[in-house]
């Protein structure tokens, strides 16, 4: 079930009514059932995967808590990591491995390759990258004795499958979510108001901006040769805004939905396009993933308290892994590498840069945005060849025989998005709304409602991050 769908619009109010009608002790069990319905609605078979991942991590968590033998604990941890990464590899990367690595390099015969392609086709289970990372985070936390494992397997299952953030995050930590999921909570108008606002704003930027831009962006990326460099530049910028609207919109809906049930999920975006460095960008973009990589990959690799060369390698590893996490294609590797290299360059050359000089800050912003947006080309392109062709043509002023048409309504919404992002920088959206008068608040609600009902995009574009 996806958030911008009719089934979810029915599912959510029904869940809310039942949730608050039930006595507190039954609510978490109800949420578990609801979460499995939410996920199983998409494809029932893949409930087996999430249940399997849950059982393995639950058992490993229990064992880690009971055992003091380091070797055995490490072995148990490796079972959890192998299981989760194995699932991820099989469903997400195996075909890529066959297509782009094993088959071209001759690791597998053409007959076997052909047989596999003809007879075994799997759909990527939605959200597998998110819930496997969330459960791995739990197991590592238990291993490091940062948290005690959950004793009740069903309560643990709710942590893994909690529907508002199941399919595309924010990737939550057990410590943060556990207390909220099982704490007694009464319905409040404030939760309804705050949750509703976030959902409305999230739907607005997803449906009116991302979905309206998507078609034009797709047309250009699927036929690069036919467009001139100016169009390619516009498309690059628009794709950056599309993916931001898409994922930020999704995150807002997820956070708003959880808020309706009294749960506060972590913020996932904080005006990333106002960043003055790549480092800052990653503290504002997909925050739950970047902090996950920081805590569970970068720090175990040695963090920043290592030799310069090792540190450089660690940074690059984190960014490349982050790239691969996003998708099974060398374009994602390139995307991660671009960010990693830019991060390293900044780290070693910007130490003495003054941060209170506006001219320098303009330069820093231009540098950051250039890196981020050029990297988006690799993120979005259908292949490495396409990405290189796109960048080369955009820079060299290439010509084209087709005109691109970007819907004016979408462009005006984009303008609003940029303004609101600057206004909301480092600010809680709720507190901004609360400061406004009744007229302004309700004008904003009416505007978003009108935009969603009358001007939302109609091209079928699932949330981009669902594929990850």
């Amino acid at each position: 079930m996806i958030f911008n769908s009719l089934p979810f619009f029915i599912f959510l109010p029904v869940c809310l009514l039942i949730f608050y009608a039930l006595p507190h002790r039954f609510r978490w069990a109800f949420m578990l059932v609801a979460s499995y319905i939410f996920y199983g609605y998409w494809k029932v078979e893949y409930l087996i995967l999430i249940a399997f991942s849950t059982v393995v991590d639950y058992l490993v968590g229990q064992y880690l808590y009971m055992s003091d033998n380091r070797k055995k604990r490490l072995f148990a941890l490796s079972i959890s990591l192998t299981t989760n990464l194995g699932l991820l590899f099989f469903f997400k990367y195996f075909n890529w491995f066959l297509d782009d690595i094993a088959s071209p390099l001759g690791f597998i015969s053409q007959e076997a390759y052909g047989y596999w392609n003809q007879n075994f086709q799997f759909l990527l289970p939605v959200g597998i990258s998110f819930y496997t990372f969330q459960t791995m985070g739990y197991t590592i936390d238990v291993f490091q004795k940062k948290v005690e494992p959950e004793k009740n397997i069903f309560k643990f299952a709710l942590f893994v499958s909690y529907f508002p953030q199941l399919v595309a995050g924010p990737i939550e930590r057990f410590k943060h979510l556990k207390t909220q999921l099982f704490t007694k909570h009464s319905f409040t108008y404030e939760d309804l108001q705050h949750g509703g606002r976030l959902i409305l704003y999230g739907l607005f930027i997803k449906m009116c901006i991302a979905d309206n831009i998507a078609n034009s962006v797709d047309l250009v990326f699927n036929d690069i040769a036919s467009y001139n460099s100016a169009v390619l530049l516009q498309t690059t910028i628009l794709f950056g805004l599309q993916i931001f609207s898409d994922f930020h919109g999704y995150s807002l809906i997820a956070i708003g939905t959880a808020r309706l049930f009294g749960v506060h999920l972590m913020t996932n975006f904080n005006s990333p396009y106002t960043s003055l460095s790549i480092r800052e960008f990653w503290s504002r973009w997909h925050i739950s993933l970047s902090t996950w990589f920081r805590d569970y990959l970068f720090k175990p690799l040695g963090g920043s308290r290592v030799h310069q060369l090792r540190l450089t390698a660690n940074i690059l590893i984190v960014f490349i892994v982050s790239g691969i996490w996003h998708g099974a294609n060398f374009t994602f590797v390139a995307w991660g590498l671009i960010h990693g290299l830019a991060y390293v360059i900044e780290k070693y050359t910007w130490k003495r840069l003054k941060t209170n000089n506006q001219i320098i800050n303009i330069f820093r912003w231009l540098w950051t945005m250039s890196i981020v947006f050029v990297a988006w080309i690799f993120f979005r392109a259908n292949s490495m060849d396409d990405a290189i062709h796109f960048v080369a043509k955009m820079i060299s002023g290439g010509t084209g025989n087709l005109e691109a048409s970007f819907p004016p309504i979408a462009l005006s919404f984009v303008g609003l998005l940029i303004i609101s992002d600057i206004v909301l920088k480092d600010q809680d959206i709720q507190s901004w709304f609360n400061k406004q008068s009744f007229i302004i608040r309700w004008s904003a609600y009416s505007f978003m409602l009108l935009a969603i009902l009358g001007f939302a995009g109609t091209v079928n574009h699932p949330f981009i991050y669902f594929q990850f």
Binding site: L123, M207, W442, I452, G454, A456, N460
Partner: protein
């Protein structure tokens, strides 16, 4: 009290938007862009004859005479107005949704439905174009415009991913449901028979396509049959005469590439349709599946129902003759038809 007041305000805003939206230019622009057949309904309701079809209605190559098949039919009845619903890749399910929009009080007397046998098969039913058709059809639903628009934005229609459709199609092709022994018991098994050499051979590729397009058995649970049943009920309810025109398929090529096991399936399927519906008084079934020689089919590298101008004329004439049952007093032979002996 505060909550009730706010919910009331929210509802009022919704109602206002819902009332104003259908009157806006944005709505009309949107319809033109997304579901243009909506405007065709206004034309169709003032006609006596309606023709529904997929791309078979059109000229598909650079002919001097580009007239549609429906225009050739119309030529036999100059005193009857005729309009067509013709959307490429569409089918009976899509046409049903459009026909449903015609008001109960209209001039419509007869509806002619062109039936592509292929449209009952797994390939067409799971075509990637199906999503586009389903999407267009949302705006043809009889609900408030703003609700249709919202449902469209929420993707509240069958909008499976292409990969899912490919999986569904592959699953059907793997099912061993054909009335023959292995290897002709399933589409995929049948396609592995190397009658025309390896996969590089264009004949092998074409034979493969013919098997995939025609090797199936129509039964009552076929979704297109359910659509056709709905059209039949609708026609009866509105008092329309219904002409079901089973379109010619390229039997000659099917026979030469694959053999009579395949052509027998095509004949059996078309006969099954004919026998199911021809007993009803308001329905005329024309089984023209073997009407045209392969010269009249314009696509040579894929089985389609795209005909040259002569082919379109021949089919049109057969339909026009069938229409004499209800409109005989208005029949007249156009000049181009007098040189042929269609009967």
């Amino acid at each position: 009290m505060g909550i009730i007041y706010r919910i009331s305000l929210f509802t009022l805003i919704l109602i206002t938007i819902g009332a104003l939206y259908p009157k806006s230019a944005a709505y009309k622009d949107f319809l033109w862009f997304e579901s243009d057949q909506f405007f065709q309904v206004d034309k169709v309701r003032n006609c006596e004859l309606i023709y529904t079809s997929a791309s078979s209605n059109f000229s598909q190559n650079k002919e001097s005479d580009q007239r549609k098949l429906s225009q050739f039919i119309d030529a036999f009845y100059p005193d009857l107005a005729m309009e067509a619903f013709n959307t490429p890749a569409s089918h009976l399910g899509y046409h049903y949704k459009l026909l449903r929009l015609i008001p109960e009080k209209s001039k419509v007397q007869t509806v002619i439905c062109a039936i592509n046998i292929r449209s009952f098969g797994a390939d067409w039913r799971n075509s990637e174009l199906e999503t586009t058709l389903n999407k267009q059809a949302v705006m043809y639903s009889q609900r408030p415009a703003i609700l249709n628009k919202l449902l469209l934005s929420l993707n509240a229609y069958d909008n499976k991913e292409i990969s899912e459709r490919v999986l569904d199609r592959t699953r059907e092709w793997n099912e061993e449901r054909l009335p023959y022994k292995n290897p002709q018991n399933s589409v995929n098994n049948w396609c592995r028979v190397e009658k025309w050499g390896d996969w590089q051979n264009p004949k092998r590729q074409l034979a493969d396509q013919f098997i995939k397009q025609y090797a199936f058995v129509i039964d009552e649970i076929n979704p297109r049959i359910q659509d056709l049943d709905a059209v039949v009920i609708l026609a009866k309810k509105r008092g329309w005469n219904l002409v079901l025109s089973i379109l010619p398929e390229n039997i000659e090529i099917a026979d030469s590439l694959v053999g009579n096991d395949l052509t027998n399936l095509i004949f059996a399927n078309s006969e099954w349709i004919k026998s199911r519906y021809s007993s009803q008084t308001h329905i005329t079934v024309l089984n023209n599946v073997n009407l045209l020689s392969s010269d009249h089919f314009t696509d040579k590298d894929f089985p389609t129902e795209h005909y040259d101008v002569e082919g379109r004329k021949i089919i049109a004439a057969y339909i026009a003759f069938a229409l004499r049952k209800n409109h005989g007093h208005l029949f007249s032979n156009p000049a181009w038809a007098s040189n042929h002996n269609f009967q």
